[in-house]
């Protein structure tokens, strides 16, 4: 891409992709503190890991094709679902949108030249890579991969002979990386907004990242210390959680979910931010209820931090505590619903352009609604006791995490990738990829709800023959989903190599700041820091038309 506007080397109008700094070639990337390059480093690492997670998932589905063993033994199956969970949760969905798109676009959206602490930003990527190295070591070293499930429940996680120390340390280090990203974004948002950009003139994506970063800073240390204590317990036999040494396994569960439930919102909030960006652009309307969407992000962050024990209704708790946690669980649905209603209200009477990013955004709303509503079902105590150890939960988590954050990620890729690289993908293929992915996803995961309702236990290697028909449907769905993902990713990848060149700054007609800078963005983003006069979603022309029509 050398032929792009490379006129000067002071970093003002040369693209960040062509910029030759102190270091050349690959070193220019892995030693760069440019937030855009770090975002892309993250993207390469995380999407590769996503592929590993998908592969494990497909193998698990293949294993479950028949009620008895199909391709692997029970121990391997346990390791599969554990590593699948750890990779997908800690290595993919928790970091992906903040680390990739947050890093790349947050400073540009705020009108800043970089994040607050560029060197810390690079450090967080290296910590992520150390975590990756440790988890890969745990897979290949003798002893075998972790087989506890991604929840590491005590006492099995202190007893099992597998490489737990590597796994837990990896997650601990990832937590460190996550905290650093969080505090970096918080400081950036507080201190580096362009002149005139008040809190309520910020794009909603930055609001979402703001709420997410607070959760990251507040709750990640809790899982850090908890998992560290399990490591200490395994290595030095210090009595903390192990019941033979007086410890309380239920305390571990509390500590684990004190992080891991808010982590659900670390996972989903940035995706919601992406959707809040895409919907107004492709309906050319001001977002409906800006302040409500902004506040609901904070509401989700606050309530979401207080509902952790609904993961443990079957673990034993005081009745009064169960009652309170159940009530709070219902309450947390309100801010999420506010967002969904506001998005649909924004679409109403908009001039809809059904481009691939919007398709993924609409799929997000649909799938997330199913995931959210099934979540409310589990918030009810008496129902939860019956379904908590079944496939119903597995269906729910996949609808929320994959249907939500996964599709939010795909939407973000289709929305921002042309901006990042200056190359447009083939939109027709992207739409085909979308439909295959969407249909495959539903065939794969919807049967989980039925299976769970019929009593199919989760994490089970064997199952009763009467469940087989649903498992077969689901496994076929997994193949369709993989074909869809392959179409989507190959299309995006090919577009980077020989896609149509895009040089216009505003590719989709957006009103946020990233659409005012060159494509791909210059090294320092802005030659002059922009002055903000209007809010981020002022689609005046269309608004007038709508108003007239209403009159």
């Amino acid at each position: 891409m050398a032929e792009t506007i490379a006129t000067s080397h002071n970093g003002h109008d040369v693209s960040y992709l062509d910029y030759q700094g102190k270091h050349k070639g690959i070193l220019g990337w892995v030693l760069s503190t440019d937030h855009k390059r770090i975002g892309i480093l993250y993207m390469i690492a995380i999407l590769s890991f996503f592929m590993v997670g998908v592969t494990l998932g497909v193998l698990m589905r293949l294993e479950l094709l028949t009620p008895q063993g199909t391709i692997v033994g029970p121990q391997a199956y346990n390791e599969f679902f554990t590593v699948h969970g750890i990779i997908m949760i800690f290595f993919v969905v928790i970091p992906v949108i903040p680390a990739v798109f947050g890093n790349f676009f947050l400073p540009i959206m705020l009108g800043a030249k970089d994040v607050a602490f560029p060197r810390l930003n690079l450090l967080s990527w290296y910590l992520y890579i150390i975590g990756v190295a440790l988890i890969l070591l745990s897979l290949v070293l003798p002893g075998g991969a972790a087989d506890t499930g991604w929840t590491f429940y005590i006492p099995y996680s202190v007893r099992t002979g597998t490489n737990m120390v590597f796994t837990l340390t990896a997650v601990f280090i990832l937590g460190f990386s996550s905290i650093i990203t969080g505090l970096n974004f918080l400081t950036t948002i507080h201190r580096m907004r362009a002149p005139g950009m008040g809190w309520f003139k910020m794009p909603l994506f930055s609001w979402a990242l703001y709420a997410t970063s607070w959760i990251q800073v507040i709750v990640t240390p809790i899982i850090g210390i908890t998992l560290l204590m399990v490591v200490v317990e395994r290595v030095f036999h210090v009595g903390i959680f192990d019941p033979t040494l007086g410890g309380d396994p239920v305390l571990f569960q509390h500590m684990f979910w004190m992080y891991s439930h808010p982590a659900v919102y670390i996972i989903i909030l940035p995706a919601m931010g992406v959707i809040s960006e895409i919907i107004p652009v492709f309906s050319q309307r001001t977002i409906f209820g800006y302040k409500f969407i902004a506040y609901s992000s904070i509401g989700i962050a606050v309530f979401g931090s207080l509902v952790w024990a609904h993961h443990m209704f079957a673990a034993g708790m005081a009745n009064s505590a169960e009652f309170i946690f159940s009530l709070l669980t219902f309450l947390v649905a309100i801010p999420s619903a506010i967002k969904v209603f506001n998005w649909t209200a924004t679409l109403y009477k908009g001039s809809i352009k059904l481009e691939p990013p919007l398709l993924y955004a609409l799929a997000f709303i649909f799938l997330f609604s199913i995931g959210g509503l099934t979540g409310i079902i589990q918030g009810a105590l008496n129902v939860d006791i019956y379904i908590t150890h079944t496939y119903f939960i597995v269906g729910h988590i996949h609808y929320v995490v994959f249907g939500g954050t996964g599709f939010g990620l795909f939407a973000a890729l289709h929305y921002w990738l042309p901006k990042m690289f200056g190359r447009m993908y083939n939109k027709k293929v992207a739409k085909v990829g979308f439909w295959v992915t969407f249909i495959g996803f539903n065939i794969l995961y919807f049967p989980f709800f039925i299976l769970g309702w019929l009593g199919m236990p989760r994490r089970s290697y064997h199952y009763l023959p009467e469940y087989q028909v649903y498992h077969v449907i689901s496994t076929i769905g997994s193949w369709i989903l993989v074909i869809g993902l392959l179409i989507m990713f190959l299309n995006l990848l090919l577009s980077l190599i020989n896609g149509k060149k895009v040089t216009e700054a505003n590719i989709w007609g957006g009103e946020t700041l990233e659409w005012t800078v060159a494509t791909p963005p210059p090294v320092e983003n802005f030659e002059e820091i922009p002055q903000m006069i209007e809010g981020p979603y002022e689609y005046k022309q269309n608004e007038l038309a709508v108003e007239e029509e209403v009159k």
């Binding site: 400081t187 580096m192 507040i218 240390p221 317990e233 030095f236 040494l245 007086g246 410890g247």
Partner: protein, 214 residues
């Protein structure tokens, strides 16, 4: 590039650096980091409260094994070091570089004295057999095993923080000597001071929880 041009370039860079400098930003980053550190220890304090609630008497009995005199001495040492650290920053603000260097060095020495005391205490406990995995400790009631588990974890993690704090202040000492920390740019030293106060404040809670409970 001619010499005058390069001098000019350096000057421009220097001005830019100066304009981009934002001490509030640096402090905010540090405070957020300290906040997450507090929550890291917060997790341990939750574990302590739960187990203390479940094993009141065992905790009380086990705490009798602690050397309260050494604990008190360490509290005094650490509090003094916090004072000298604060004074070191103050000295830098008033432009007294030499005094600041002396006070920073004194703070590091206090940290070292604290760690030496800890080594004495721990070797005493180890000699008594009160260490994780020992047969003597395993034979004790479960509440006491938990007490020592928490003691070694919490005080150990705190000790680790003391070592980190000493290292950070040592760096600050070098920066001060080399003139990188100056009376109008001392935010690094301030951040190091904040970290040291965090180490201090955590000890202020650990001391009564492990040494003074009845």
């Amino acid at each position: 590039m001619s010499t005058s041009e390069s001098v000019q370039a350096v000057a421009v860079e220097h001005i830019e650096e100066h304009v981009n400098r934002d001490d509030i930003r640096s402090r905010m980053g540090m405070w957020l980091f300290l906040f997450s550190e507090l929550l890291l220890f917060g997790g341990l304090f939750i574990m302590y409260s739960v187990y203390r609630y479940l094993h009141q008497t065992d905790f009380s009995i086990a705490s009798k094994e602690m050397n309260t005199y050494l604990g008190t001495l360490n509290t005094v040492i650490l509090l003094t070091s916090s004072l000298t650290m604060a004074l070191a920053i103050n000295a830098m603000q008033r432009g007294k570089k030499g005094l600041s260097i002396f006070l920073q060095a004194f703070t590091i020495l206090c940290g070292a004295a604290f760690m030496i005391n800890k080594v004495i205490e721990w070797s005493h406990e180890f000699a008594e057999g009160n260490y994780p995995g020992s047969a003597i400790l395993a034979a004790k009631p479960k509440g006491q095993i938990l007490y020592f588990g928490l003691y070694y974890s919490m005080v150990g993690l705190h000790g680790l923080h003391v070592l980190v704090g000493m290292t950070v202040i040592a760096f600050m000492l070098v920066f001060t000597i080399r003139g990188k920390i100056t009376p109008d740019n001392y935010v690094k030293l301030e951040a190091a001071g904040l970290y040291w106060h965090l180490v201090d404040i955590i000890w202020i809670f650990l001391f009564p929880l492990f040494y003074l409970i009845t």
